[in-house]
Amino acid sequence: MCLAIPGKVVELLPEDRSLAVVDVLGVRRKVDLGLLQEDPPLAGDWVLIHVGFAMSKIGEADALAQLRMLTELGESDAAREEVQGYGLGEEEADEEAEAAESNAGP
């Protein structure tokens, strides 16, 4: 929770300006931009994500360094799983999350 996940903004969504599609370690999910409304990111920008919300913009080199560190901390699978779990308006993401949950068992 303390460690942010860096993601690259791939697409801004015209129908809902508070959401953007972000790529994290090859996984694409919608992320909430509502907390960056004073300085909204553009497609191609990198953001640090906490619990589905972009919290700050960072440079590409720093984002890549942070991704490398998540891998070294053994947290990159957890990060990928977290991002895969984001279900913002995406039905297939929901199903995946539910499938993952039922596989995980009690």
Binding site: L3, L35, E38, G52, F53
Partner: protein, 384 residues
């Protein structure tokens, strides 16, 4: 010990480590507290202690949200899960944290509807998709996650959702640091300030630590080099008798913080008069509750919760470890009854908890070395 050339920038790491040795006064003992659990994880994972001279001691702070939550709050949240028609939603970190009658996962096994969510907005979505059920989101975290909960509640209100509530356990970092400084058994020379909390609150709120308490604080990033550079900055301040707030993590932390996030928090939350922290006891104005304007989304308002105080298992010394008075391995249960596989205290659950970090890296390493030293490598019996 980790080989220095495994690091991303080995020369810079070597140079920074030798700068630390040059700056540290051999006659002094330094105690630096890293406030954030993310730093604790990084310090153990990268074996940074091995790069520091023995007179620099890193003390692990209270910045692990699941670790500081007292068991009574977990019981209160789970009591709502037991109500008919309720879906209990929480982050994965919470799922293995023990309450008096089990962890959320064990409640799930007993038939309660417990779901892992990765974002508060996913809990909101669950509520939209299950109009006949009530979705309660068990919110935890410092200022890093509180704005996301706030924005989610603003959206729930705008949509006039009737079946969504938040059990709010958001806490704030500044009063926790104050409690540590006020604690008579603590002596801290300087602070490694939290990185991602500071992306929200900025650097200004730390000003009193420098000006009133006379302690340097450097807001730090999470990479090995970040943490070592922050230690250099702290040593320089101490050597020059300066007390300042400095920002080592400028690439992510603006001095003023994130105004939109602070605004969302102010709209939805207000300070509780006091809140209980595991290990630190009751701290005034240290946690957030949901404002009256959002009362219909406040689980504590909608449901009656027992609000019982539960003391931790007697033998567990989570409190002392949280305050930095004891090292993880000094707790009587560490590595015996309490392990990451079977945690008794919350510090063993989260990867940001100092016990789990210590166990996963230091303890396992020591065990392996002991094993190797006791295992004969050649035909031991015949050799002399």
């Amino acid at each position: 010990m980790r080989f220095v050339d495994e690091f991303r920038e080995p020369e810079l790491i070597t140079r920074t480590a030798s700068e630390i040795r040059r700056l540290a006064d051999a006659k002094r003992h330094y105690r630096f507290m890293e406030v954030c659990g993310g730093h604790t994880h990084s310090i153990y994972r990268f074996g940074l202690k091995d790069l520091l001279p023995s007179n620099i001691e890193l003390v692990h702070g209270p910045g692990c949200p699941v670790c500081v939550l007292p068991m009574g709050r977990i019981d209160d949240g789970l009591s709502i899960a037991e109500q008919p028609g309720v879906i209990f939603a929480a982050f994965g970190d919470m799922m293995r944290v023990p309450g008096t009658r089990g962890t959320p996962l064990e409640y799930k096994a007993r038939g309660m509807d417990v779901r892992i969510v990765y974002s508060p907005s996913d809990a909101l979505k669950l509520a939209r998709n299950n109009p006949e059920r009530h979705v309660m989101f068990f919110a935890i975290g410092f200022e890093t996650t509180a704005p996301s909960t706030a924005l989610t509640l603003m959206r729930a209100k705008a949509e006039r959702l009737r079946n969504f509530s938040v059990f709010c356990n958001h806490v704030t970092i500044i009063p926790a640091i104050r409690a540590i400084l006020d604690s008579p058994d603590m002596r801290i020379d300087a602070f490694i300030g939290p990185g991602h909390v500071s992306t929200v609150i900025g650097c200004r709120p730390y000003g009193w630590i420098a000006s009133n308490e006379g302690k340097p604080i450097v807001v730090s990033g999470f990479e090995p080099l970040d943490i070592l550079q922050s230690i250099v900055m702290l040593l320089r301040q101490l050597n020059e008798n300066q007390k300042k707030v400095e920002n080592q993590y400028k690439r992510a932390v603006p001095w003023e913080g994130n105004r939109a996030a602070l605004k969302a928090m102010a709209e939805v939350f207000e300070l509780r008069p006091y809140f209980e922290w595991r290990g630190l006891g009751f701290i005034s104005q240290s946690a957030l509750r949901i404002r009256a304007a959002y009362a219909e989304f406040d689980a504590e308002h909608r449901f009656s919760v027992p609000g019982v105080r539960v003391t931790d298992p007697k033998a567990a010394q989570c409190g002392e470890v949280l305050k930095g008075v004891l090292k993880p391995a000094q707790c009587k249960l560490f590595g015996k009854e309490c392990t990451p596989e079977h945690p008794i205290g919350a510090l063993m659950v989260s990867s940001e908890g100092s016990c789990a970090a210590y166990y996963n890296y230091e303890h396992r390493k020591t065990q392996a070395l002991t094993y190797l030293s006791q295992t004969p490598v050649s035909i031991g019996e015949t050799s002399v």
